[in-house]
């Protein structure tokens, strides 16, 4: 019945959705933000440990959400560890483009880790599901809010 949903729910997504990595509130962290998608009830929190030079030493998340939002958060935590703040911002921009725009509309976000983008490719299926884009981007918006020292973000007012 759902053959054509395999693009949206690739095995990697189902796996991360079921067994999210870096899940749970860590003992120590120095930045955090909560993200909320009031439309579907997804709520997550992202916990960052930033080094003095702005390198992301550690990333965790918790909360509940659909398979897409959980997988996206889980993948994000894997990818961001060890990245600089600037690299994280660039990935955010490139990932956001991937989820929302045709390839010829993508803009330049500076140096982007191509390996990381390859891994994130599994989420590009949301392009065909406008209602699900926010699920894929919630964790990233929340991470960015944490980087910027904001406590909360919501998909309803962050111009997602």
């Amino acid at each position: 019945m759902f053959d054509d949903l395999r693009d949206l729910y690739q095995e990697v997504i189902l796996d991360h959705g079921k067994n999210p990595r870096n899940f749970g509130r860590p003992e120590a962290f120095n930045r955090t933000a909560r993200g909320d998608n009031p439309l579907c009830g997804d709520k997550i929190a992202v916990y960052l440990t930033l080094a003095d030079d702005g390198t992301i030493r550690d990333v965790h998340f918790d909360g509940r959400g659909c398979a897409i939002s959980q997988a996206s958060a889980s993948l994000m935590t894997d990818i961001l560890r060890g990245k600089s703040t600037a690299e994280a911002e660039a990935l955010f921009g490139a990932f956001h483009d991937m989820c929302t725009k045709d390839e010829d509309q993508w803009t330049d976000h500076g140096a982007v880790d191509e390996d990381a983008m390859d891994k994130l490719q599994v989420l590009s299926g949301v392009r065909e599901f406008p209602m699900r884009v926010k699920c894929a981007t919630l964790a990233w918006h929340t991470m960015r809010a944490a980087l910027h020292g904001e406590a909360t973000t919501s998909t309803e007012n962050a111009g997602f």
Binding site: F2, C40, D42, G65, Q70
Partner: protein, 429 residues
Amino acid sequence: MTDTATASPISAADGSNAPYDVARVREDFPILTRLVHERPGRPGKPLVYLDNAASAQKPRAVIEAMTRFLEQDYANVHRGVHFLSQRSTDLYEGTRDKVARFLNAPARETIVFTRNATEAFNLVAQTWGRANLKAGDAVLISEMEHHANIVPWQLLRDQTGIQLKVAPILDDGSLDMDAFAGLLTPEVKLVAVTHGSNVLGTINPVKDIARLAHAKGITVLFDGSQAAVHGPVDVQAIDADFYVMTGHKLYGPTGIGVLYGRKALLDAMPPYQGGGDMISTVSFARTTYREAPYRFEAGTPPIIEGIGLGAAIDYVTALGMDAIQAHEQRLLAYASERLQEIEGLRIIGTAPRKAAILSFTIDGIHPHDIGTLLDRGGVAVRVGRHCAEPLMDRFGVGATARASFGLYNTEAEADALVEAVTACKAFFG
């Protein structure tokens, strides 16, 4: 699978014992024959529309009444001396009579047209509420309210210092009537609760609620947004002071809702919005307002929508609200039983009296994913918080999937739902 709905006789509005012929009813709704998710080389799926609690589809009678009105009779109402204005006014005001009969209201003047249910709550809060409630007074709502019956009171609370009290519900989704009675303390001046829950399906004992409240001199407002589409309503029998409805869930158009108010209450209420149509005389020094209900209907009203609502009421009345209720109750029993066979599926809301609304969760699968998968199977349900976030918290769920049935749904569609849910479980295995 046999469709028992077509087999068992129930009395229709015309008093005959004609069976409820759901196949024929479906022919009245053009949209029900469309396919969804068609792609080149792949046939679409038949639409299984189970999102009626969000909004119902429209019968041809409604669509045609609005078109005919626009082609033949349209003009502004209440203003002109010309032929079409008079005709338009008569037709639009005719809907007020139909709504009054539909709710068994004692007089047409007790029917106020609004934009939707939401506006009706805001109207009562800002007119009756502002005139009658003062700091320290309380409005008692329940844990199962739609945001439309929560937020207007919070706005009023911020403006006037009233309190908002919340009557709890039981685990099956019924209102806790003992707790409710205990909450009717002297500072409570208004009880505003839903007649039927859009999430749980619960039909509340509004007659008892009104009796208990009135015994203490408390005014009651009922939210009939859901209840009024699933069965007959008699505002006099239940002794409502205010009763709220919304047109688009009653197979009518969007953009029109109804506030029923007891005449003495409406007559004593200050206006809502200011503008044309609601005034008697205007000078820059002083303006006098028209009588109810017109005092609450400023500006050009939803005329075309009013015509559509009138046609929708004619339509459901001809089928018979009792017959619709009986049909939906059979569907509810059937669908509940079948869904419960699915392992890991939990139905939220199992009150003894409920409308054909089934909220559920499935272990290990988020409602949002359920929604996307069901949709691919052609089954339209709603997923999320259903504008009832406090209720989601009460049941410890972030969201639910909700299948809500209407007068045109069939047991075959309940089967399609069950099949899609089963496939969804296999998919996430």
